[in-house]
Each structure stands twice: as C-alpha cells, then as structure tokens.
C-alpha cells in the first residue's frame, strides 16, 4: 500500500499536465489575430470596391456580402471549422461566423431532407440572431420616433 502516495503524485502530474495554463490569454491572442485579420480583409475589400467606383455605403454592403460568400465556401469545404477550432471567438464574432453557423448546421442535417433538414436547420443559430436583431431594431425605431 506504500504505492498510494506515489500514485497520487502521478495523478497530480497528469492533472497538471492537462489542466489549462492561462488558457484565456492564449485563446484571446488567437481570437485577436484571426478576428483582426478577418476585419482587415473586410476593410481591404471595402477599399477595393470604393476604388473601382462604388459609393461608400454600397462598398460596405458588397464587402459584407463578399465575406459571407467566402465564409460559406470555406465552410462547405470543411475549412472554416478548422479555423474555428483554432481561433474560437475570432471566427465566431465576425459576420463570417454568422454565415458559418448557418451552413454548418444545414450541412449537418442534410440527411433529414432539403426542406425540414436544411431549410429549418439553417436557422439554428441565425434564427435567434435575426429574431433579437429585428426586435432590437423595432424598439430603437419606436424610441427614435417618440423621442
């Protein structure tokens, strides 16, 4: 029974080895540079559209659409999930994460059919976002109208 203390020590080293050491800092750094890069790409695309003659608001809209398109393609190729595993919130917070959430949920439920599988699951994450977004916009509109 003398081995018990040795075992406990071994167990502790295993636990230490696997418990997160300052994970928040490391994850934050990953989220920072990946999320920042996505926004930088958005800025580049916007500037590009302005350069070829689009108005500033149109360029912004087209840039958003381009990012969404890129994200859906990367998701369909199973690449966006890889970025997500590394970057965490860095891939979720940008608008590309919103598009990714739609495609990946729809892909997962493809076998349940094109209407109730994909058509419904497209909104697993996007649904709440659109619902609360719409409600917020109406509340803001009401306040703005009366104030």
């Amino acid at each position: 029974m003398a081995d018990v203390s040795t075992l406990k020590k071994d167990y502790q080293t295993v636990v230490d080895k696997h418990s997160p050491k300052n994970e928040v800092l490391k994850n934050s750094f990953k989220a920072f540079w990946v999320g920042g890069t996505i926004c930088l790409i958005g800025q580049l695309i916007t500037e590009g559209f302005i350069y070829i003659g689009f108005s500033e608001p149109d360029a912004g809209t087209l840039s958003t659409i381009t990012l969404i398109l890129l994200s859906t393609i990367l998701t369909a190729l199973n690449l966006y999930d890889k970025i997500g595993n590394y970057a965490g919130a860095g891939s979720i917070i940008p608008i590309t994460g919103f598009a990714n959430s739609m495609v990946s949920a729809a892909m997962e439920y493809k076998k349940e059919g094109y209407i109730f599988g994909m058509g419904a699951k497209l909104f697993t994450v996007a649904g709440p976002v659109i619902v609360f977004g719409t409600i917020s916009s109406v509340i803001v509109g009401i306040l703005y109208y009366f104030l």
Partner: protein, 121 residues
C-alpha cells in the same frame, strides 16, 4: 498612408472585439448563439445612444464586420427610415438596411450546404 492606418485600425479594433467575445466564452461558457445575440443587442443599444456610429466612422470594418456591427446596421436602419418615412420606418427600417446581408447569407448558405459533403464522422 491613410490606407495603411485604416487597415491597422480595422485589424486592432476587430481583433479586440473578438477578444471580448473570447473572454466571455472562456469565463462564462456561453453558447455561440448567445454570444452573437449579446453582441448584436449591444450594437443596437450603443447605436441608439449615438456611441457606435462615431466608432464606425473611426474604425471602419473593424467595427462593422464583427456581429456587433450587424446590430449597428439594424438600429441605424430603423432610425434613418423613421427620419425619412415616419412611423412605418419602425417596422421596415431594420430589415431593409440589413436585407442584402441576410439574403446573401440565406442564399449562399443554402447552396453551399447543398453542394457540400459533410465530413464523415
């Protein structure tokens, strides 16, 4: 030079917003959809308070690409439309301003999922 500064601002501001999201995720174990909704509603509130728009003017894509910018677009759309069209803008403004993005996400999203092969598990 302005061009380079705009890129740096977008990178740093967008990155910092993602860090806030990451800290929320790590500390609270919130789900993806909740984080997105929190950011979105925060964007709408900050826009209504008149804080977010100057921030967008300064940071460009760094402020509009993160999902908080979607809340900004919704709230700004509602306010602009109310100013232009009166009370009907309350119902039309938000979605009108974001229609292109939502439509693109639905159409591209559906077809991307349709054409993809889910990874074998």
């Amino acid at each position: 030079m302005d061009f380079a500064i705009d890129l740096i601002k977008a990178f740093v501001v967008g990155g910092l917003l993602c860090v806030i999201g990451q800290i929320l995720m790590d500390r609270t174990k919130l789900m993806t959809a909740r984080i997105m909704v929190i950011f979105l509603v925060a964007g709408a509130i900050l826009t209504a308070l008149g804080i977010y728009e100057p921030f967008v003017d300064w940071a460009g894509s760094g402020a509009t690409v993160p999902i908080i910018g979607f809340g900004y677009a919704l709230a700004k759309g509602a306010m602009d439309e109310v100013a232009k069209e009166g009370y009907m803008g309350i119902l039309t403004g938000g979605l009108k301003a974001t229609a292109a993005g939502i439509t693109a996400a639905i159409v591209f999203g559906y077809f991307a999922a349709l054409l993809s092969n889910p990874k074998s598990k």
